[in-house]
Structures are given as C-alpha cells and as structure tokens.
C-alpha cells in the first residue's frame, strides 16, 4: 500500500511545493560536499543559486533529479518522493528537464534526433509523432533551419538552445539549469538568457545555477547563496543582491559584480 501511493503524485506531501529538499547531505569519499540543505520551491517559482566555485551548487542541482544520489535526506519532486526506496526515478526524471554547462548534446545524431530520441525511448512515441514534436519545439526556439545538422556544426549558443529544446520536448514540470551560459562566447550568452527569461515568464518552475547576476536580479523570484555545502543566505532577489547580510555573500558579490 505504501509503495503504490509513493509512486502517485501527491502534492499534499509538500504542502504544494514543486520541489522539497530536506536535509540533503552528499559525500564523495570522506569529503562532505553538501552539509544539510533544505529548500522548498513553489510551482512557477524561479530560484537562482549563486555561490563560489566548489560550494556544491552543481551537486545540489544533480541531487534534485538524482543524477547524484544524496548520501542522506529527502527529495520530493512534483509530489513524488524520489528518495523512497521504490521510487520510479526514470519516470520522475522525465518530468524534470536539465540543461548542462557543456550542453551535452548527442554528437552522433542530428539536431532533430537529439530532441526526438527521448520521446521515442522514454515516452514510447511513434517516430513520426516524436519528430513532429521535436520539430515544433525547435521551431519555437528559432532553430528550425538546423534540424539536419550535427551538434558539432552549429554555434555554442545554438547548441545550448537545442539542449533546452531537448529538455522542453519532454514537457517537464521543472527545469534545472547548471551554468547554462558560462561555456559560451560572450556574444552568444544573450540569446540563451533570452530563451530562459521567456521560459520563466511562461510560468515554468526553474532552478538556475548561474554567475549571471543581471539575470538573477531581473528574473529570479528568489536567490539562494550557497557556501561550503550549505545555504548561507537566501531571499528576494533584489534584497539578497543589493543588501547582503552575511560577510561571505558581501565578499562573494564584491568579487563577481
């Protein structure tokens, strides 16, 4: 009885939060990288995570969809407890889109197949249907002209937008971004940030690890500052970024701004 109810989305588990992290800890060997992180993210909320290199931002983000299983703690996404022993992690992951710093497109297939692949394998769509949706998603991001190219033959900005299209084609309820623009040449950053802004305005729930303080200030509902494996400070974007309370955040902001 407990196992079946765990599979079914139950938003009352989290009082309506789209993502609930409770006391997440993660160690690599003897090094503890996350030292007890708790965070609730509401549906349609945009949360930016900032913090110095090595503070555990990527690790936390990868915990949310269990790419990095936490050593301990509870993760509930869209009413499904992923840390429950019998959780259908693959199914849950298909509702959480992830965009990586280095795009991680599939270099051996064309752009259209990059987007369509998960639709046929995970959603078991017929090939034609999958390709129709992939094409639509790519056109929406103004990538329609590139569908028969290989990832290596398009610009980094285009690659990252394909990666976003690939995630969006799965119709996720949550999108995770891990420094989506930091591997891009400066002139290509804006195009990707524009897509992310649009997505935020459309009501997508987003967790965005970023060094783009302008983006955080403009788009984020909340900014979370991580330092040394814990959330050191958080709050409304404008307040956190303009009137930091902790000395560590003050120091961090003075370095990046």
């Amino acid at each position: 009885m407990a196992t079946t109810s765990m599979q079914r989305p139950d938003m009352s588990l989290t009082d309506g939060a789209a993502i609930r992290l409770r006391d997440i800890r993660k160690s690599f060997g003897s090094i503890e990288v996350l030292k007890g992180v708790s965070l609730d993210i509401a549906p349609q909320e945009v949360v930016c995570i900032i913090g110095p290199s090595g503070s555990g931002k990527s690790t936390l983000l990868k915990c949310i969809n269990l790419l990095q299983p936490p050593s301990s703690g509870t993760i509930i996404v869209n009413g499904v407890e992923l840390t429950a022993p019998k959780a259908d992690v693959n199914k849950a992951r298909s509702t959480v889109g992830m965009v990586f710093q280095h795009f991680n497109l599939f270099p051996h297939v064309d752009i259209l197949q990059n987007v369509a692949m998960a639709l046929t394998t995970v959603k078991r769509m017929p090939k034609r249907e999958a390709e129709r949706i992939a094409r639509m998603q790519l056109e929406r991001l103004e990538l329609g002209a590139l569908i028969h190219k290989r990832p290596a033959d398009i610009s980094g900005g285009q690659q990252q937008r394909v990666a976003i299209a690939r995630a969006l084609a799965m119709e996720p309820e949550v999108m995770l971004f891990d420094e989506a623009t930091s591997a891009l040449d400066p002139e290509l950053v804006k195009g990707v940030l524009d897509v992310m802004k649009e997505l935020a305005h459309s009501g997508m729930t987003m967790v965005v690890v970023t060094h783009e303080m302008g983006f955080a200030r403009e788009v984020a509902d909340r900014v979370v500052f991580m330092d040394d494996g814990v959330i050191a400070e958080q709050g409304v974007a404008r307040e956190v970024l303009t009137a930091p309370r902790s000395p560590r955040l003050q120091e961090f902001l003075s370095q990046v701004l």
């Binding site: 298909s94 998960a118 990832p151 690659q159």
Partner: protein, 245 residues
C-alpha cells in the same frame, strides 16, 4: 642463391597450389575469421557491459574470462576447445572440426574485443550518460542509443586490427585435422609442403594472407588518422571547445 629461390619461389610449385588456395583455402579462412570475429564482437560486447557494471557478480566473471583468454597462447586455447571438447564428449558441432575452430578463435577474440569495447565506452564523456539519464532514459537505453554508438566509433580501428589477428589466428586450426573441403589457407600449403619438401606453397599462402591483411592495415591507419583529425578540428571550434575536454 638458386637453392633459396627454388625453395621459396618455385613458380611451378606455387601454381600447383594457387587454385586450391583460392577456391578452397581463402573461402574457409574467411569463413572461420569472419564468423569468429562476429561471434567475438557479440560476446565481447556482453563482456564489456559486465566489466563496466558496478555489480561484483557481473564484473568478476567477466574479468576472469578476459584475463584467462588473453593470457593463454592461442594454440593452447584452440587445442583445448577443438581437441578437448570432443574428447570430453561435448560435441555441439558433431565431428566436424570447423565449428570448434570458429568457437575457439571467437572465444579468444571476445576477450580482446571486451577490452576494446570497454575502453571505447569509457572514453565517452560522462556528460552523455548524464544527459540521457536526465531525460528519463534508463541506464541500458542510454548505453544502447547514446554511449555505445559513440564508444564503438572511437574503437573501429582497434576492432579492425583485431579482425586482422583473427584472420592470422585462423591458421592455427590446422592442428584440428581439417578434411578436404574444410581446409583453410595454411593447411593446404602445409600439406603441399609436406609432399614436395618445397616451401613455395607456404609463400603462396602467405601472399594470400597479405592480400587480406595489408589493405586492412592501411584502412585502419587511414581511419585512425581521420578520427584523430576529426577530434582535433572539433577542438579548434570555439563552439565545442569546452564540451570536448
């Protein structure tokens, strides 16, 4: 000098065996090598998956297999399989030695293919697995559709090299006592040499082997160069610079 030429390059002796080499030997050599290579690829891929598994129960037997079959001389493995199995009344291929010959070469080839596949798969950037999994694909789906195709492409030259060795190793099955019609290149030449005490038949067989192996060697080199250059030109492009590291 005349004796040397007579022993190794007697045109008459060569012409005597060439028809048999080409009609019977070449066919059987290729039959053994190709079938063994295909079987070796399949078993090798399964072994590679086991080697990459986190489960000790899968990894250990695969490791053991690979270490044993890579560590034994080919001629010993071929004797064990081709002479040993039938003697122990294990006769999946009846009395015909050719089935045992294929199996023996395949078992050896599989051990090497396993290591080749493993290294190829491990050379694929970890981000590929993460991207596949993040979309909800299972480990095996991600392996099959994303990681393995890329990994295999990286090791095509190494696999072709292995096929060259399969061709050469197929000659060792002569010790299973092939009958007329089953004889591969070396066996035919060996028989002729035993009759005539002249090595020209062996040279003729050697020419047949070289006709297969030398072009393949050049193919491997060209392939290898292209893969290397492809990788380098990708690195130079700013768009993919970082995703390549």
């Amino acid at each position: 000098m005349d004796a040397f030429i007579h022993t190794f390059f007697d045109i008459g002796e060569m012409l005597k065996v060439f028809p048999t080499l080409l009609t019977e030997g070449l066919k059987n050599t290729l039959f053994i090598a190709v079938l063994a290579a295909l079987l070796g690829l399949v078993i090798g891929m399964v072994l590679a998956m086991m080697l990459l598994s986190r489960s000790w129960f899968l990894k250990f037997p695969a490791r053991l297999y690979v270490d044993i079959f890579r560590g034994l001389p080919a001629i010993l493995t071929i004797s064990l399989v081709g002479l040993g199995l039938p003697a122990a009344d294990i006769r999946p291929f009846g009395r015909s030695p050719i089935g045992y010959a294929v199996l023996a070469v395949a078992l050896i080839s599989a051990a090497y293919c396993a290591e080749i596949f493993r290294s190829g798969i491990q050379s694929v950037n970890d981000g590929q697995m993460q991207a596949g999994r993040s979309l909800g694909m299972t480990y095996l789906q991600t392996m099959r559709k994303i990681v393995v195709p890329q990994g295999v492409r990286n090791v095509l030259p190494a696999l072709t090299n292995r096929f060259i060795i399969d061709i050469k190793e197929s000659s060792l099955v002569y010790l299973l006592g092939l009958t007329v019609g089953q004889r591969e290149l070396y066996f035919i030449a060996h028989q002729q040499q035993a009759i005539s005490y002249n090595s020209s038949a062996l040279v003729a067989a050697g020419i047949c082997y070289l006709m297969m192996t030398v072009p393949l060697t050049y193919l491997v080199n060209a392939w290898d160069r292209r893969l290397r250059e492809g990788r380098r030109s990708l690195k130079l492009k700013p768009a993919t610079r970082l995703s390549e590291v």
